[in-house]
Symmetry: C2
DNA sequence: GCGTCCGTTCGCCTCTCGCGAATAGTTAAG
DNA sequence: CTTAACTATTCGCGAGAGGCGAACGGACGC
């Protein structure tokens, strides 16, 4: 029973402050000492010495009087990605799905109870979506997320719901945990998850779970309701995306 | 006179430890408490509480008994990249250069006295190179680096050399600062920098400075000596890469 | 069973580091 | 040019944070 988080043990306050600082810099893109001090509810002196340390460590850059995230994070991010064993394989499959469907194809893995987009490719007719590589999303409201949740035990899902809740995005969002469990059951049966305008009105999505490697993952196609309906939505695309998931799983074995 | 780093002021030891921890995790991909404690020369207890904090903050993941960098860094990395104003423009130009030449094209910006690769595209005949998006390189030994250094004042270059040195990679590496200054003078005159097997034997490279936006940058083509010689190396490619740099600069103005 | 490795926890004691206040710079307005 | 209102930066103090050694508890491998 090694629970992921929530264990006891000591926490280092100074590290917490620096982490919050980096997170704030992510929101601001670039900010000065006073601005950040106000944001964190800390003294300017404290923020200043933290920034000086992060600058020394090259985790932050300083242009004039403003601080910003350093490109060091690009390097760390690449390493983190390469730690996901099926990352490269999915990287071949996602553009293929995008090309064949002409829509947006994406790949997501679970981390800390949230979904992280790791690949995104746009086909010929692809619409604009707000997700980007690295962005995080709750799992209950997307097809990708539901395809991931379907791989977990009831207790694990319960824990995730308790931590993050089931906030509503549109009138179709599932906000009731029993309804979610019921839907996940059908996902398991059909091996496909759907998003019928549960995040954004007019946007539908089909996703299949990818059960390979050490993390829960999923692959999807997204598009407008105008093209995502009838047989294409209920038969053609599910089959296509299940195949894509299968290709990833099969290739993963050989690694 | 706001010097980039090296200023006085207090440093937070706990933050330094966590930064070193993250850097160690980058090297190891994944590691346990004891391993990391040994690596940093710290007690297991200390490392443990730092990891617990970083886990809480979701900067690190724990699988079983091993810790690894979280995908959070992918998100932070994307934000850091988007902070480089010419990033997207260069992202269009690099693949074009790769396609037109059939070789490897790359884009680099300076940060903390080092060069960071931000784009890499491979043409039809592209060879394998060890660089990847996010990887860092000293500036004295690559064409990209020299194209970047050519944009700096003598004092700034002096400071960078003093900090990082001029380590040798091949018999062609410039390891003498006067020779470097002389070479940079010709780079400024011709607006192109060359790498004649100064990093890897058999690998040549042509780069042009990109002076737009808030950071020094450069764009390049790389290939084998067998194809990088004669007029192509000394005339055709320099002209092509200067044009590409120019396109980025012109497009940057419109932003 | 024992020995050895691991991760985790505990308590002590020091020196870190968060804070408020004072000091510099820097820009803007009068 | 002066004053005012911002900044970033530095200083000194004192509480409590946090680094450490040691003890503990679980997991393997003999």
């Amino acid at each position: 029973m090694d629970n992921g988080d929530a264990s006891k043990g000591r926490r280092i306050q100074a590290v917490e402050i620096s982490c919050e600082l980096l997170t704030a810099l992510e929101r601001f893109n670039s900010a000065g000492v006073s601005e950040l001090a106000a944001e964190l509810g800390r003294s300017k002196a404290t923020v200043h010495s933290h920034l000086a340390t992060l600058l020394d460590q090259e985790f932050v850059v300083k242009q004039g009087t403003e601080y910003a995230l350093s490109l060091r994070f690009v390097e760390l991010g690449e390493h983190a990605k390469s730690g996901v064993d099926i990352h490269d394989i999915a990287g071949e499959e996602v553009p293929r799905v995008a090309r064949e469907t002409g829509e947006v194809a994406q790949f997501m893995v679970e981390e800390h109870g949230k979904g992280v987009y790791l690949h995104k490719a746009r086909g010929e007719n692809a619409i604009q979506t707000s997700s980007y590589v690295g962005s995080r999303m709750q799992l209950h409201c997307t097809a990708l997320g539901k395809a991931i949740l379907s791989q977990f035990s009831r207790e694990r899902i319960r824990a995730i719901i308790d931590e993050t809740g089931l906030p509503r995005h549109t009138s179709n969002t599932i906000t009731n945990s029993e309804a979610l469990f019921a839907e996940l059951e059908t996902v398991r049966e059909r091996n496909v998850a759907f998003d019928e305008e549960e995040v954004v009105k007019g946007l539908r999505c089909v996703a299949a779970p990818v059960t390979a490697g050490d993390r829960a993952a999923a692959i999807s196609v997204s598009g407008p309701t105008s093209r995502f309906k009838g047989d294409r939505f209920h038969e053609t695309l599910p089959e296509l995306i299940r195949d894509a998931a299968n290709v990833i799983e099969v290739n993963a074995v050989q690694v």
